[in-house]
């Protein structure tokens, strides 16, 4: 049963109206579909196609090109472990193995209770915070295998989790709604910058920054 409503259609039209050519809104529209459905459903593809006046095949061609669009429901908390080269070497491979074993699921798979899904993600532009884990596309910096296991356990238990450089972690659907273009008013949450982002600035000012990194320090 599709979760898409007339409201979804109105929101799609709102997105389309922002662009000189409506089709430019297709990527945001597909994010919007995921915010209702949890993944890109056939009904979502149909609705995008109807609104844009293109074929379902054309929408599908786009939806299958991008890794953020999912073909089946993700967990409430979608966890991405960076296993691109630098994170992998720094411990990302070990994190991946431990978390995957702990949850008993692999890449693009969801835990039985639907709480957590896993993905091996490519470089997420946070290399100075390696190894990095993403939860619903929020940064969880400077992870270790045990911190990552604690993280997924907290998520699965429904405990509140704060990104190390972002907001209180919202659900996959809520995150997709923000990415699509609808604000959740959380922009002011979290720090301006994490510790590694400030290292050069502090040295230039003559502020000592000789402490080596830890998960905690990196976020202060």
């Amino acid at each position: 049963m599709s979760e898409l409503t007339e409201q979804t259609r109105h929101e799609m039209r709102e997105l389309m109206s922002q662009y000189p050519q409506a089709r430019s809104a297709l990527l945001p529209m597909l994010h919007l579909v995921q915010s209702y459905e949890g993944y890109v459903t056939p009904a979502g593809i149909e609705m995008c196609a109807e609104e844009l006046g293109i074929t379902a095949a054309e929408v599908t061609a786009v939806a299958t090109f991008y890794t953020m669009y999912k073909r089946h429901p993700m967990g409430t908390y979608h966890v991405g472990v960076c296993t691109n080269t630098l994170c992998a070497v720094m411990g990302g491979d070990a994190i991946w193995s431990r978390v995957s074993e702990h949850l008993g699921i692999g890449h693009d798979e969801v835990s039985e209770d639907g709480a957590v899904s896993l993905e091996r993600v490519e470089c997420n532009a946070a290399c100075d915070y390696a190894p990095v884990v993403m939860v619903n596309w929020e940064f969880m910096d400077n992870q270790t295998p045990s911190s990552a296991v604690d993280l997924v356990d907290s998520l699965a238990a429904g405990e509140p989790v704060q990104s190390t450089r972002g907001a209180h972690i919202v659900t996959f659907k809520e995150a997709e709604r923000v990415i699509a273009g609808f604000s959740d008013g959380r922009a002011d949450e979290g720090p301006t910058a994490g510790g590694p982002s400030l290292r050069g600035l502090r040295l230039a000012r003559g502020q000592d920054d000789t402490a080596t990194r830890t998960g905690k320090e990196a976020t202060q």
């Binding site: 000189p20 050519q21 089709r23 430019s24 990527l27 945001p28 597909l30 994010h31 844009l52 090109f65 991008y66 890794t67 953020m68 669009y69 296993t83 691109n84 080269t85 070497v89 720094m90 070990a94 994190i95 993600v121 490519e122 470089c123 997420n124 532009a125 946070a126 290399c127 100075d128 915070y129 390696a130 190894p131 993403m134 596309w137 940064f139 450089r165 995150a175 923000v178 990415i179 959740d184 959380r186 922009a187 979290g190 301006t192 910058a193 510790g195 590694p196 982002s197 400030l198 290292r199 050069g200 600035l201 502090r202 040295l203 000012r205 003559g206 920054d209 000789t210 080596t212 990194r213």
Partner: protein
């Protein structure tokens, strides 16, 4: 307090530790949007001249002169002109635009206002990768605040100039960092590169004249307007003037962002960052992401600028300095990077689509220690058939990554014919100590 470090020069990062730097109030308090006022009091052509004369070069990888790019926009084209900011930061190792947009998104918005005004655009797009939720929030909030304050909209700062800015989130595809693939993606299509010519300056977004610049390039423009051409040229070198963000990551004691005039060396940066992690030595590094040929300890004193890096057969790229120590298997890192290129190949060009697949097969054998005697030659031969034979530079990045690794560490690849990489370089030794706990 210790002595201020004079080799560093925080400009873009100067206010990243203000708790409200990402808000309009925080930005205005440190002089934000003054440069936009100044710029809009001049003729657009004067701003193009300023940026060209200052010598700003693209900070997204290629180093193309920004003012020159702006000057390519035709004056007689009946279609509207667009400015597109490439905020699809995805090149492995690259992590400068994300913290910039997180901490001071208004710097980018102000850069967009000045740049769009200079090229005569009334609509600008910031194409940000989708996998950075909080950055998207901060950017959109900044744009909304800029509208409310009259910095954007139908009458920017009461000058009659009209500018709309749309923050557009991508959906996960490295290739969309390639400018023509980005345009296709922004038009709601699969992100596949276009054949050039026509170049985007003539037929870009919606077949209209379009300028595409990296986040850091655009964010550098307000400082040039504010402090002037001569100041900018007093930094760096004749051909590589100005300041930039260097990103240190990997086996370095204090990884992070270090902003400095162009031309600082890795030796200097490593000194500032506490050196390679304790008890270890530098083995190899990338100057600007995985697509720039790797270098070694022999290159510690080469200036990190466009000419310096080109002079040693590499590229400045995105200044993503990924540091690897002697525990690291170069066969392992090369394989992982090529797996990335294989995954991210858009599939349009055969040499890239097929070539990356075959490279991965050979590199997997090399990593497993089961390669045949002629596998290394086949690897290099494949690179020769991939580089320069595709629409875009993704395949060139693969080839650069592989050939530079073989050039500097051929013996390690040869060992792949009899010994697994994980035996020669136990992988747990490369991981951070904290990870092993």
């Amino acid at each position: 307090m210790s002595k201020p470090v004079t080799q560093l020069l925080p400009v873009l990062s100067a206010h990243w530790d203000d708790s409200d730097a990402f808000t309009l109030a925080g930005y205005e308090r440190v002089g934000g949007y003054q440069a936009a006022r100044t710029a809009l009091a001049h003729q657009p052509g004067e701003i193009i001249d300023l940026v060209r004369d200052a010598g700003l070069r693209g900070r997204g990888g290629a180093g193309f002169p920004t003012g020159l790019k702006w000057g390519f926009i035709p004056k007689d084209n009946p279609n509207p002109t667009y400015l597109v900011v490439n905020a699809d930061e995805s090149e492995p190792g690259t992590c400068k635009d994300i913290p910039l947009m997180m901490a001071t998104p208004h710097t980018l918005v102000e850069g967009v206002i000045i740049s769009a005004y200079a090229i005569g655009a009334n609509k600008a797009f910031i194409y940000v990768r989708g996998e950075v939720l909080h950055v998207i929030r901060r950017l959109r909030a900044a744009v909304a605040q800029a509208y409310e304050a009259g910095y954007l909209g139908s009458d920017v700062l009461g000058t009659g100039y009209e500018l709309d800015v749309i923050v557009h989130a991508g959906a996960g595809a490295y290739i969309c960092g390639e400018e023509t693939a980005l345009l296709d993606s922004l038009e709601g299509r699969r992100g596949q590169p276009r054949l050039r010519p026509p170049f985007p300056a003539v037929a870009g977004l919606y077949s209209s004249p379009t300028v595409i610049n990296n986040v850091e390039s655009i964010a550098s423009v307000p400082a040039i307007v504010r402090y002037g051409r001569d100041w900018f040229r007093s930094l760096g070198s004749e051909k590589s003037p100005g300041f930039t963000l260097y990103s240190l990551s990997g086996h370095v004691t204090r990884p992070g962002q270090y902003e400095a005039p162009l031309g600082i060396t890795l030796r200097e940066l490593l000194d500032l960052a506490g050196g390679v992690r304790a008890g270890h030595q530098l083995k190899f590094w990338t100057p600007g992401g995985s697509s720039t040929p790797i270098l070694t300890a022999d290159h510690l004193d080469v200036p990190l600028d466009y000419e310096g890096m080109a002079g040693v057969g590499s590229m400045l790229g995105t200044k993503a300095l990924q540091i690897f120590d002697e525990t690291t298997s170069v066969v392992r890192t090369t394989l992982r990077w090529v797996e990335f290129y294989k995954h991210e190949s858009c599939g349009k060009c055969t040499p890239c689509r097929e070539g990356n697949w075959w490279l991965v097969q050979i590199l997997r054998r090399l990593e497993a220690g089961t390669a045949s005697a002629d596998d290394i030659d086949t690897l290099l031969d494949l690179c020769d058939n991939i580089a320069g034979r595709s629409f875009c530079a993704l395949a060139d990045g693969t080839a650069a990554c592989v050939t530079s690794a073989v050039k500097h560490f051929r013996d390690e690849f040869e060992a792949g014919t009899h010994t697994p990489a994980a035996e020669l370089f136990p992988y747990e030794r490369s991981a951070l100590e904290a990870v092993a706990v």
